[in-house]
Every structure is written in structure tokens, then in C-alpha cells.
């Protein structure tokens, strides 16, 4: 009887969470998935059209392949440079050098700036007339330097990349937290064994924060899959479709009343996101305890 009572209490306390999960996650995901197989303008009833939306999404022109290519390179940059930068900052902060609190505070500032505002800031930074980048290059003696960063190929790809490349605060935070959680005894034992600072970092700290780095990679790659403002508000996916991503394809579907098409794009995004999560979980063996 006691067991039964406990189960009831567990059920009671889980019920609100499960309800919210069901209403706000499971049901919308099922709706997105099912309406991806329909012709639906958002007004009338969805009409089943098989795989038409997926065929249209993938084969209509080269936009889908451009979006996938961009995603691949952006993910690669995110998993290496972006996460690497965030991790490096975390290790520097962990060392507690002079002024680390100030640096941490400054590094956190982007957290309070919306992605949309951030995109607009970068649009100004890369502006040919008043932007810092071009003016700096011209000051260095290249007076004819007039790259229109968001409107020329291949500059637009890199300009869009720069809008998020150094915005790695969340990576820094989770790695820093894991570093702080490493028991002091481990470091003391290493010091007694004669390990130097580099060896402690390389052979103790880095392996012990691998789960945090893995989480950072998942977060940053999925942010690339779902990224919208940094593209839509800067290059708009252009020139042509050179900086397109799947989110913009989804958006195109929405503004053109092709909700079925938009939801097919959303389904692709969900599948990609889950796949990335599973892959990185496996690569980093994140289910195993580190100590």
C-alpha cells in the first residue's frame, strides 16, 4: 500500500509538468510533423499531399542544398572556433588572473542584448561608409577597400559568421562551472606528483569538463540550425541565396501562406537537431561519469 501511495504522489507532482510538456512541446511537434504532409495555407483545413512539401523543399532549386552546405560549415566553425573560444575564456577566468571579474562582466554583456539588436550592431560594424572594419582597413593604407560585407560573395558568409562567432558566453559559463566543480584534492595530488600547469590543464581539467564542452557544442550547433535573426536581419539570406539557412526557408513558407511547406522545413530542423544531439552525446560519451 505504501508503494502505491508513493506512486500516486509521484504521479500528482509529475502531472503538471507532463501536461505542460504535452501541451507546449509534444502536441506542437506532432502538429508540425503531420501538417508537413499537407497543403495548408493557415486558413482552411490542411489537405494531405504526401511528400510534396519535402520534394518542393529539397528539389525546387538549389536553396536547400545551399542551406545544408552553409549549415555544415557554420556547424563546423561553431563546434571548433566558437566553442574553442568560449572554452578558452572559461579557462582564463578559472585561473583568476588580475581583472578576471571585470573581463567576466564584460564578456557577459552580449547575454543581455537580443539577437536582433546584435545583428543590427554587426550590420553597422560591417557597413562600408561608417563601419569599423572597412574604416580600419582603409586607415591601414588600403584606401580602395570597399567590401560590401553582407551583399557580396563570399564576404557575406563570413560577415554572417562573425555575428555569432565570439558570442560564446553560454559555453564559457557551463565550462567555467564544471571547472569550479573539480575537487581541489585532484589538483593537489597532481601537484604532489610533479605535474605542471599545462599538464594539469591538458590531462586533468580538460578531460573533466568534456561533458560541458559537449553540451556547448550541442547548444552552438543547434543554435546554427535554428538561427534566424543573424541571417534575416543582416544579409537576408543573400546575395541571391548564398547565406540561406533552413529557418529562412521555413519563414518563406510562412509569409507565403505555405504552412505545410514551412512545417516540412521545421520537421527537417527538428530531425537535424535531434541527430546532432545524439551524435555529440555519443562522440563525447556524455552518459558516462567523468569522475
Amino acid at each position: 500500500m505504501k508503494d502505491k501511495g508513493t506512486k500516486w504522489w509521484i504521479a500528482i507532482f509529475l502531472a503538471p509538468t507532463l501536461l505542460v510538456l504535452g501541451l507546449f512541446y509534444i502536441v506542437p511537434i506532432i502538429t508540425v510533423f503531420t501538417t508537413g504532409f499537407t497543403d495548408w495555407d493557415g486558413f482552411g483545413s490542411p489537405a494531405f499531399n504526401g511528400l510534396d512539401n519535402y520534394v518542393n523543399l529539397i528539389t525546387y532549386d538549389n536553396t536547400f542544398f545551399v542551406a545544408i552546405r552553409n549549415l555544415f560549415f557554420w556547424s563546423l566553425i561553431a563546434a571548433t572556433l566558437h566553442v574553442g573560444f568560449g572554452t578558452l575564456v572559461a579557462f582564463i577566468l578559472y585561473k583568476g588572473y588580475f581583472g578576471w571579474r571585470f573581463v567576466r562582466g564584460v564578456f557577459m554583456i552580449p547575454m543581455v542584448i537580443s539577437a536582433a539588436a546584435w545583428a543590427m550592431i554587426y550590420k553597422i560594424i560591417f557597413n562600408d561608409d561608417i563601419g569599423v572594419i572597412n574604416n580600419l582597413v582603409r586607415q591601414l593604407g588600403f584606401s580602395g577597400f570597399h567590401v560590401k560585407w553582407f551583399f557580396e560573395s563570399p564576404a557575406s558568409f563570413w560577415a554572417v559568421t562573425f555575428t555569432w562567432l565570439f558570442y560564446a558566453v553560454y559555453v564559457t559559463l557551463i565550462v567555467y562551472n564544471d571547472l569550479m566543480a573539480i575537487p581541489k584534492e585532484i589538483h593537489e595530488a597532481a601537484l604532489l606528483d610533479g605535474a605542471g600547469e599545462w599538464q594539469i590543464t591538458r590531462y586533468i581539467n580538460l578531460p573533466l569538463v568534456k561533458n560541458a564542452i559537449g553540451t556547448g557544442i550541442i547548444l552552438s550547433v543547434t543554435a546554427r540550425i535554428a538561427g534566424f535573426e543573424e541571417v534575416a536581419l543582416t544579409s537576408g539570406g543573400g546575395p541571391g541565396n548564398e547565406t540561406y539557412n533552413i529557418t529562412l526557408m521555413l519563414y518563406d513558407g510562412l509569409v507565403n501562406y505555405e504552412y505545410g511547406y514551412a512545417n516540412a522545413a521545421a520537421t527537417v530542423m527538428i530531425i537535424l537537431g535531434v541527430s546532432v544531439m545524439l551524435l555529440i552525446n555519443r562522440v563525447f560519451k556524455m552518459n558516462e561519469k567523468v569522475y
Partner: protein, 463 residues
């Protein structure tokens, strides 16, 4: 057992609590952005049906609109709203909520999805309005217009015809049309030795004038490829309208959309656009937004800008242009005597399902802005002609010299009236794809033929 009952009770209560918190008042189908304070008992009633009670207190309509803030249209529109509020003080009040121009159509769609459409909407996405018309979700203005013969007789017949569907008038037909032309810097023209009026030039002669301007050290055109590439699109539209057969493609009352641009007419217009962007425009045209293009002209960094007469107010605004700049500006229709205007567009509309007093307030506003005095004030401020409205004796003398210049050009030189590309393109092409692909055209990554092909393909995606 007692414990289980208690557990069931708590579970039930928590579910109720969540459902109550999640649920909202979604019973009203309209008026989400309206705010008449008193409860009048007509909530959600179809405004085409008479209500039992008259409004007892002031009706406040919250109207999101792009003609506000820094938008050039706000200069006339906001004071006009104030005049309306003053006239109907204590009865009706309209409060404008600023929405960026680019976001307006999306905002309206979003409000529709939330069942919170405001009582007054100006234009919007054509496809969206067509859907609403098909679903009969827009208030029929016909009975009201029939009861206002004075108002009805001043409406432009082509516009009434365009706005009439299935015997109903869903959006307010126009009383004024404003052919869009161009503005030029007279001082620069004089220094470059250009004497022939622009409207009397052919486009070949126009190019010679551009060369003369360039030779005199001026940047001839203020073009843009950002946003919807507005100024570039206008000039290209005028070029095509001046070509043999072009005006037929862009005829002013054409209601259907063009989604194939592989015809030589289009390709020629794109080739000309490429030439202008490569040779005769400012350094910052690539990626320039409207504000940049306007700024280039207002600060005398370019000699010519294609734009509507609503821009005239900016010429004498010393926060935007140097003192005395307005005196240097001339206005004209395009080379070839082309004026760009359309009667095939949706103007103001009122959603169905509002409270009756809200609909009445909205109708009062439409009547107010279409009164002869307000139409005249509008034409004085922003230009245009109202063929069926008698102007006052002082009208001409009150007119800004630049607007008078434009009116003269329209009257004396306009031979062709056509729509701009923006009116005949599907929204996706007009708002995104044309501008997005222009940088590739400018850089030579796309030939005009390939550019036409790309746009055609894009137009076909969401047919």
C-alpha cells in the same frame, strides 16, 4: 482509499488550475486592438447587423500603422488623425501604434491569427486580403457608400471596380491618385548643361544626361539594393513602361500578377538596371536601404531619385536636408512621359466582427479622410490629383512649388500611366527576391537573362 481520493482531488485541482491559467478569453472574434471602455453588450456582434444600444462613452480605436515615427507618411497622417480626434472629441478617438513599414503587413497577418485585428487597416498583403475576402471576413462598405452619395461620386471608377468583388466593396476605393515620378537637383542639372526637361527625354537621351552629370563630377542616380530596392525598382519600371509593349504589361488597372520574367522586355529592363547600378549610382547603393538612398539625394550626393510626392516634405526638413535644399529640387514624370500609378490596390478596410460602435468609428474615420477638405489638405501635403473632387480656389496657391512642378509635368508631359513592378509582382518577388538578387546582377555574377530566370523560378515556388 482516503489517500487516493485526496490524491485524485489534488491532481484534478492542479489540472484545473493549469487549464484555467492557459485558457484566455478567446470568445471575441474582433476588436482585440480596440479599446472602448464601456461594456455595450455588442461584443463580437457582426457590425453589419444593427445593434440595440448606442455607444454611451468614447470609443477608442488602437490602430497599428506604419505612417508614424520617422516614416515620411506620418507627417501628414498623424496630424490628420489628430484632426479627426478633435472633430469627434468625446465620441471617437484613434490611437496610432507605430509599426515599421516593412513589418506592417506581417503584423496585420499576425493580429488576424490572434483574432485581434484592429478596426482600421490600410492595405496589406494582397494575397492575404484576397483570402479574407474569399472568407467574407471584411466589412462590406457598399451599403455605407450607397448611403453617402457625395462621398461615392468622388471615388475613381477604376478603383471602385477593382475593390468590388461579388457585388460588395471590401476596401475603400481611392479618390486621389499620385503618379510617381522622380526628383532632380536643378543646380546639378544646370552645371552639367542639361536643358531638356526630363519628361520630354527618351530613355536613350536620359542616359546621355546621366553621362553629362557624371562628367560634371556628380553621381547621377540615387539607387538602392537593400529592403525592396524601391528607388531602383521604380526607375526600372518606368524604363519598361516606356518600351514598346511595356505599358501593356504594366497597365494601371491590371489586377493579376506577373510571374514570368523571361520576356525580352523584362530582360532589357534588368540589363538597364544593371548598367545604372554599375555606372551611375553612389558607392553605397549596394545594400543601401531607402534611408540611405534618400539621404544621398537630400545631401546632394546624387542628382536624381525616383520616388513619390510624399517625399516632398523631406526637402525642406532641415534635420534631413541642408537649408534651402527644397529650392534646388525639380519634379517630373519619367523619361518617355511615364508616370507610375495604380488603381489596382487595396486601401483602407475594416474587419468584420467588431462591435457596432467600433465599426461606426472606423467608418467615421474613412468619411473624414475622404472629405473634400482633407483630400485637398492631403494633395497639398503629398501631391496627387483627385479627378472627381472640386478643388478650392486657393488650392494652386497653397501647393508646394515642387508639387506644383510635378502636377504640371503630369498634366503636360505624362503620356503613359503604368504600374510599377511592385504592383504586378507577387509579394515574394517584390519584397525580397528582386532586391536580394540585385547584388549578383551588379557584380556580374548573374547576367540579365539569368537574373530573369532566377526571379521566374522564385516566383513559381509559392504560386
Amino acid at each position: 482509499m482516503k489517500k487516493e481520493y485526496k490524491a485524485m482531488l489534488i491532481l484534478f485541482l492542479s489540472l484545473m488550475l493549469i487549464l484555467t491559467a492557459c485558457g484566455g478569453n478567446n470568445g471575441a472574434s474582433g476588436g482585440g486592438n480596440t479599446g472602448n471602455e464601456p461594456a455595450t453588450g455588442t461584443n463580437g456582434a457582426d457590425a453589419n447587423q444593427p445593434a440595440d444600444e448606442a455607444p454611451k462613452e468614447k470609443v477608442v480605436l488602437n490602430v497599428p500603422h506604419y505612417k508614424a515615427g520617422q516614416n515620411v507618411g506620418g507627417k501628414f497622417f498623424l496630424p490628420q488623425v489628430e484632426r479627426f480626434n478633435k472633430k469627434y472629441e468625446g465620441q471617437y478617438e484613434i490611437k496610432i501604434e507605430e509599426v515599421p513599414n516593412d513589418a506592417y503587413k506581417e503584423k496585420i497577418k499576425l493580429l488576424w491569427q490572434q483574432k485581434k485585428l484592429p478596426a482600421l487597416i490600410e492595405g496589406g498583403d494582397t494575397q492575404f486580403i484576397d483570402e479574407l475576402i474569399a472568407k467574407d471576413e471584411i466589412y462590406d462598405l457598399k451599403p455605407w457608400l450607397d448611403s453617402k452619395p457625395e462621398l461615392s461620386k468622388q471615388l475613381i471608377a477604376d478603383s471602385v471596380s477593382y475593390n468590388t468583388k461579388n457585388g460588395k466593396i471590401y476596401t475603400m476605393p481611392l479618390s486621389v491618385i499620385r503618379p510617381i515620378g522622380l526628383f532632380y537637383n536643378k543646380e546639378m542639372f544646370e552645371k552639367a548643361g542639361i536643358t531638356k526637361p526630363v519628361a520630354q527625354m527618351t530613355f536613350a537621351e536620359f542616359e546621355e544626361a546621366l553621362k553629362q552629370l557624371k562628367a560634371a563630377g556628380f553621381t547621377p542616380l540615387s539607387l538602392m539594393t537593400g529592403e525592396n530596392a524601391w528607388t531602383t525598382m521604380l526607375l526600372a519600371s518606368a524604363f519598361m513602361a516606356a518600351e514598346p509593349g511595356g505599358a501593356e504589361v504594366l497597365q494601371s488597372d491590371r489586377a493579376d500578377k506577373v510571374s514570368d520574367y523571361k520576356d525580352p522586355l523584362w530582360i532589357k529592363a534588368f540589363a538597364e538596371t544593371q548598367k545604372w547600378l554599375q555606372n551611375y549610382t553612389t558607392d553605397n547603393a549596394l545594400g543601401a536601404a531607402y534611408a540611405d538612398a534618400a539621404n544621398n539625394f537630400l545631401n546632394e550626393r546624387a542628382a536624381i531619385i525616383a520616388n513619390g510626392t510624399w517625399m516632398v516634405g523631406d526637402f525642406s526638413d532641415t534635420t534631413k536636408a541642408p537649408e534651402g535644399f527644397a529650392k534646388k529640387v525639380g519634379a517630373s514624370v519619367y523619361p518617355g512621359g511615364v508616370g507610375l500609378a495604380t488603381t489596382a490596390e487595396y486601401s483602407w478596410w475594416i474587419p468584420k466582427g467588431l462591435k457596432q460602435e467600433e465599426t461606426e468609428a472606423a467608418l467615421a474615420f474613412l468619411e473624414f479622410i475622404n472629405s473634400p477638405e482633407e483630400l485637398e489638405a492631403y494633395m497639398i501635403a503629398e501631391g496627387g490629383t483627385a479627378p472627381n473632387v472640386q478643388q478650392s480656389a486657393e488650392f494652386e496657391s497653397k501647393l508646394d512649388p515642387i508639387l506644383a512642378d510635378m502636377n504640371r509635368s503630369v498634366k503636360n508631359d505624362m503620356k503613359i500611366i503604368a504600374q510599377s513592378f511592385g504592383n504586378v509582382w507577387p509579394d515574394q518577388i517584390g519584397s525580397t527576391e528582386f532586391a536580394q538578387n540585385l547584388p549578383l546582377l551588379v557584380k556580374g555574377d548573374l547576367t540579365p537573362e539569368k537574373f530573369a530566370e532566377t526571379l521566374t523560378q522564385k516566383a513559381g515556388r509559392f504560386k
